[in-house]
Symmetry: C2
Subunit: 231 residues, 2 copies
């Protein structure tokens, strides 16, 4: 929640440059740009990466941890637009200001690159330009699916979808949730109590097994899928 984040001391080129050895990020021109020219920035849990309507000088790629983009409404409610995980790029819209705030859900590490550098690279290199388009189109698809999820679907359907989406990133059937119930609620357009009750109900119905609040085993993926589809 700090107002200003300090870029100066950490803002030196990441000259390790080549590949993070373990678990490489998918190779594409955009990721390459970050890997080669990005400066590393560390964020503490709940620290703000940038604020809403702030001039958009940099774009970011998540290296570790989870980042949320969100907006606050007049009446103080928070709505979460998206969660960004390893490899995800954020801050790359059109317009000169960020349309949402970005905050660290957990301690996180991101790479930062000047947006002008990205645009310059795109103007020079069609491959970068295409990667930029693909990134925007993928973001768009994600946003559209999210808006479909919020339009007239029950709490059960939303939570089931969320769990399945989270599960799609893990190998086994165990979902690690880096975010709080409040984060989930603000993402799904529900309240914290409803999230909690719905998960409890899922457990009663043997659809999931909660090893802890943030560690959930999917006992019946197919039943969840059915639920998510609005059966």
């Amino acid at each position: 929640m700090t107002a200003e984040f300090q870029i100066e001391p950490r803002f030196r080129a990441n000259q390790s440059g080549l590949r993070l050895t373990h678990e490489a990020l998918p190779a594409n021109p955009l990721s390459d740009l970050f890997a080669m020219t990005g400066a590393t920035l560390r964020l503490a849990r709940n620290e703000e990466l940038y604020g809403e309507d702030e001039p958009a000088e940099y774009a970011y790629q998540v290296v570790s941890g989870t980042v949320r983009t969100c907006r606050f409404t007049a009446d103080g409610q928070r709505q979460i637009v998206a969660f960004h995980r390893k490899g995800d790029v954020l801050g790359l819209g059109i317009g000169n200001t960020h349309r949402f705030a970005a905050e660290a859900v957990t301690d996180a590490t991101v790479l930062m690159v000047r947006r002008s550098a990205v645009l310059a690279a795109a103007a020079r290199d069609v491959a970068v330009s295409r990667a930029l388009w693909e990134h925007a189109a993928a973001e768009n698809a994600r946003a559209e699916e999210h808006s479909l999820l919020l339009g007239r679907r029950s709490a059960g359907e939303r939570v089931a979808s969320f769990l399945l989406d989270s599960a799609s990133r893990s190998e086994d059937g165990i979902v690690e949730l880096p975010m709080s119930r409040q984060d989930i609620a603000d993402y799904l357009g529900l309240t914290i109590e409803t999230i909690s009750r719905t998960l409890t109900q899922f457990e009663r119905d043997r659809l999931i097994r909660m090893q802890s609040a943030r560690r959930i085993g999917l006992a019946s993926g197919s039943a969840l899928k059915q639920l998510a589809r609005g059966a």
Copy 2:
């Protein structure tokens, strides 16, 4: 924190240029491509332009009328993702199939161009490539605003936002709605009855004046804006 989302996102990319006149479509490489190489296609009201999961061979630009993109859920509910009006381009996502169906809300005319031709032009010409990115980014902004609208906002807030968004396309304070109440309901994640009741309430509160069901005068734009923000 001003009513940023009332600015029609696709107009942003156009702000450098002149004001849209009644006739002219915004001048940009993508529109040029449609204007020069597009074939004209006429659609009757409710006619399908393409279906969900259909191979995506063409992209389209609306010349006249209104087109909706939508999806049908397992339980038969329809959810409308977006309304597309004159100048809007649809069918240009990544992936080989259309992720939604597209149908004519009113009788409509569209231009169609092969997606492969668009991609080829983008690979050749950086200006086209950039236009493609800007289109995707603008669509993304629109989708994100839509998902924010659907997350935990009251019926009044949703309808007020919808009216203001519609009004942003007309000079005077008169909104012409090309779509039915059912269309609006499926777009806002509400029922047809709730739309109707909310509009009636707005009229009672002297926020709007319904000249007919599809022709609505905004009597107090500022009060509506306040409502839309979640006052």
